[in-house]
């Protein structure tokens, strides 16, 4: 056996480029199902973990997958908005905890989640540094966001401009980091949290007026006229809106507070009985949709598994084709080396030695391919972002 392994190894090393190519092709066929399986297991785990921690989600009737993925994983989807008026009856109840979620805005490319302090309590989110966002314009960063942005407490981050080119488009805001969350290995690590008012501020529902006198001092070229009790500023002046510089009491709405938008409501009923009744009643009324995330996730995974099984069959076919090609390569190699193999037999190598040598070479190539594929899959799973985040 030692002689077999030695000669097989030497033969493989003698043609490095050819054998690396063959090994690479074999590794690819092994790598694809390994990666697919690994990603799906992680997807399954992540989805279920989050879904199990969220008993019920309320939203406008529509795509239940979008509602669930948006409310639980902050996926950027266009959810039909609820209003604060929809939240009121749930907030008043004693047998459940209702937490509003507002989505849509982003900060440095990361989703900004507007919510209330109950969210942090319900999710068990601890602070690595700092405190809750108490005022409009204050934000808390998930652990991965803080790391990727290199942001620390007190950092001032600018919100992203809204999509589109509306003439009444809102300017970006400078937001102040008041806290950084501990790592949770979940979607909270990838989000920025703020008060609901911060989201409304970015959406243009809430605003404050900067002091015209100070603007006039900083930008005298923008002053059109001065009066006894004020100044007339040019319409071309679009100063940065730094909400942290605006006194909170100056912020105000020009709308009914009950009409302010939110994206979804997370419910934590006190018991399974309450949960069942709430879901049944809500869905019967038809105005809102009450979803159990675990059911939605199961349906989503069933669909994903059906697609994966189809892809697996295609990969099997690809593998079969590759195996046949590999066989051809082995046969051709044996033909090219017929002289050497005959020499071994004539010298007195035991019967079947030549076949054993070819089989050992094939096995070494196969094992090498499996090792490379496993390593590549492990590396890819480590480096690739969560599917939940991407899909």
């Amino acid at each position: 056996m030692k002689a077999l392994r030695f000669l097989a190894f030497k033969q493989l090393v003698h043609h490095p480029a050819r054998n690396v190519l063959v090994m690479g092709c074999l590794a690819l066929v092994v790598f694809l199902p390994l990666l697919g399986g690994g990603l799906l297991r992680r997807y399954d785990h992540d989805l279920h973990q989050r879904a199990n921690a969220t008993p019920l989600v309320l939203g406008k009737p529509g795509n239940r997958f979008d509602l669930c993925l948006g409310a639980l994983f902050f996926r950027q989807t266009h959810l039909a908005p609820l209003t604060m008026g929809d939240l009121e009856p749930w907030s008043a109840r004693q047998d459940l905890v209702a937490v509003p979620i507002s989505l849509g805005a982003t900060v440095q490319g990361q989703p900004l989640v507007g919510t209330t302090p109950e969210y942090f309590e319900r999710r068990g989110l601890g602070f690595a540094q700092g405190r809750l966002p108490l005022k409009p314009g204050e934000i808390v960063l998930g652990a991965r966001v803080a790391k990727s942005l290199g942001a620390e407490l007190g950092a001032r981050l600018r919100s992203d401009p809204p999509m589109g080119f509306g003439l009444v488009g809102n300017a970006t805001q400078v937001l102040v980091v008041t806290g950084i969350l501990q790592t949770t290995h979940g979607p909270d690590d990838r989000a920025v949290f703020g008060a609901l008012q911060t989201c409304w501020l970015l959406d243009g529902w809430l605003h404050g007026h900067a002091d015209a006198q100070s603007i006039a001092q900083d930008h005298p070229e923008q002053v059109l006229a001065k009066a006894e009790n004020g100044v007339l500023l040019s319409g071309a002046l679009v100063p940065d809106q730094d909400v942290a510089q605006v006194a909170t009491e100056r912020l105000h709405l020009h709308a009914d507070p009950a009409s302010l938008p939110i994206s979804a409501i997370l419910l934590w009923p006190a018991s399974d009985k309450v949960l069942t009744i709430v879901q049944a009643d809500t869905n019967a009324q038809g105005l809102l949709s009450a979803l159990r995330p675990t059911q939605v996730v199961d349906d989503l995974l069933a669909l994903t598994l059906r697609i994966k099984s189809l892809i697996d069959r295609l990969i099997w076919l690809l593998g079969l084709g590759m195996a046949l090609l590999f066989l051809v390569v082995c046969v051709l190699s044996a033909q090219l080396r017929a002289g050497e193999l005959r020499t071994l037999a004539r010298m007195g190598a035991r019967p079947g030695f030549a076949t054993g040598l070819l089989a050992t070479e094939a096995a070494l190539l196969g094992l090498g391919a499996i090792a490379v594929a496993a390593l590549a899959a492990a590396l890819a799973l480590r480096l690739l972002p969560d599917l939940v985040h991407v899909l």
Partner: protein, 229 residues
């Protein structure tokens, strides 16, 4: 009691197919410490004779025995083992393994026998030295000349001190100097180790170095003479 000859060929008839020519070799034998030059024109059956002696072919009739045991009575595995252990073969076309360097090629029989090659490092060094190629130990066959490849093939045949040496035209395509060196190596094994040697050669100038000549012609072998000067 007289020891059995290393190789014995008795009443052998052999040919390729019923229509082809048939060789008839009534009696040939090789003793320990004996060197035999096998001569004859091309196609006269020298290589076939060598392969019969090595047990690589089975005669249609008659007996070929190696160290007292007829090849035909041995199972395939036993026959392979006997050849590996007791025979050193030098092929016409060198037949070195391209993936192995000189050192590894020479050690090949040891590996096939299951020995630890490093236990034979001293012998390896001596052989390479005697063959005049100690500086080529790490080279692959593709980087060697014909003469050098032939010397490596000889070292490979000698590394495990076989009792019987069968060489098929080891000096073909070699210049006089290389041919002399190759024959010297073979005869050294006969004289020092007591091996028996059958060497196919066309080179009349070398025949005088052997103890005996087997002249293969007309499908017969004429054994005899005392070619040594």
């Amino acid at each position: 009691m007289q020891p059995a000859p290393l190789l014995l060929l008795e009443g052998v008839r052999h040919g390729y197919g019923p229509e082809g020519p048939a060789w008839a070799w009534p009696h040939l034998e090789l003793a320990a410490g004996q060197s035999i030059a096998c001569t004859g024109p091309s196609g006269s059956g020298k290589t076939t004779l060598l392969e019969l002696l090595a047990g690589l072919q089975t005669p249609q009739a008659g007996l070929v025995a190696c160290m007292g045991t007829p090849w035909s009575t041995l199972a395939n595995r036993e026959r392979q083992r006997k050849r590996l252990e007791h025979l050193g073969l030098v092929f016409q076309g060198f037949e070195l393994l391209a993936a192995l360097d000189v050192r590894e090629n020479v050690r090949l029989p040891l590996r096939l026998l299951g020995y630890a090659p490093s236990d034979f490092d001293v012998r390896l060094g001596e052989l390479l030295e005697r063959a005049g190629i100690p500086n080529l130990a790490r080279r692959k066959p593709a980087a060697l000349s014909h003469g050098e490849q032939q010397r490596v093939a000889l070292c490979r045949a000698l590394i495990h001190k076989p009792r019987i040496l069968l060489a098929d035209e080891p000096t073909a395509n070699l210049d006089a100097e290389n041919a002399e060196a190759v024959i010297e190596l073979l005869l050294h094994a006969v004289h020092d180790d007591g091996a028996g040697l059958v060497c196919v050669t066309h080179d009349r100038s070398l025949i005088t170095r052997f103890d005996q000549e087997w002249a293969v012609a007309g499908f017969q072998v004429r054994a005899g003479g005392e070619p040594k000067a």
